[in-house]
Symmetry: C2
Subunit: 233 residues, 2 copies
Amino acid sequence: MKRTIAFDADDTLWHNESIFHKTTLTFKDLVSHYVSPKVLEGKLYEVERRNLALFGYGIKGFMLSMIETIIELSEGKVNAIEIQQIIDLGKYMLTHPIHVLAGVEETILALKDDYKLIVITKGDLLDQESKIARSGLADYFEQIEIVSEKDEKTYAEILKRSKIDINNFLMIGNSLKSDILPICNLGGKAVHIPYHLTWELDKVEKPHHFNEQHYVTLESVTLLPQFLQENTF
Amino acid sequence: MKRTIAFDADDTLWHNESIFHKTTLTFKDLVSHYVSPKVLEGKLYEVERRNLALFGYGIKGFMLSMIETIIELSEGKVNAIEIQQIIDLGKYMLTHPIHVLAGVEETILALKDDYKLIVITKGDLLDQESKIARSGLADYFEQIEIVSEKDEKTYAEILKRSKIDINNFLMIGNSLKSDILPICNLGGKAVHIPYHLTWELDKVEKPHHFNEQHYVTLESVTLLPQFLQENTF
């Protein structure tokens, strides 16, 4: 029985937060005659946080939150043309080219014969499917799980349904909150590979009950094959 | 090995299109000073169709399409307060109570010991999960599949992954296009239970290659247990 390595997708396999970051800059610019960039940014996070339980993760919810944010901050003065421009920003995000992170494909090629490789990602169903297809990486993965939330319950359910023993499972991802913590709390092991940007709502304080022995941080995904030769999980 | 019965969810297990219908009426009313209800309806379908490949199915895409429709039809005159009202209509849809269709729960209770019951539904991931949870029906189903499109490829993939022989599989749903046709084209059997409303983009001409022997139409889900006693699949 092969051991399983699960990869997060956004900001682990390909650039993603950088697209949100770039769009937020354009958004700030677009409405700078109503509000300062700093106030806009704070309010946008607040609105996204407020809408998260209803909208879930993903670009469509982000578009709606941008619109709500500027309606509120402009006190209803933002006009329809500007709102269409915000929608167009989101549409552009949905078709944005997928830039696979440096070293990802070589690493996958080095691992694919020895491990069962899967993807576990959260977000909008169609958008995540489309990104996986456009990344050119889909064929390397035996299983692709798109979920609405990456918490202990979700991971436990995937492992159970897929008949994967957590002792033969390793999670790889950039988000301590979504990729690392829940797996460690389930007694599993994880490799944290930070991305240079972290979405505000994905930031997490390292909690006291977090057992550091269960995860390591690597600077780059290219270090993974050697790490796995020197350490078994 | 139990045979598998798969239920579509929206308009098969619970009312859904009626909520879109009601929202569309309110939307027409809200913007009637810009455009006639008839013109609005035609344009809304056109915008939804145009956006479908980008947004996929679901309420968030519907919200964005409503906004785009009225920006276009009002020639940019629709104001921010009205756009917020449109967003609020969509938010209300996302929290709308789930009304399980008459006879559904009794039918499921009558079938659950003899068949493996699953759900196959398309739409926004979080919204579909939330509706299944709120319906109170989740525990009756051994498997819940939320997909971005219900076509032959998707069904074939689910059957393969779940190790379900199509000869031991029956699909139940209200949509000829999404629930019945693809299964019949794969050589499987289906039961069509029409809902009193069909979404414009889910309407389909019955194609010439469609083999009628592979599906039957029942007026109500309550007729299913007796039908299954008289007919095996």
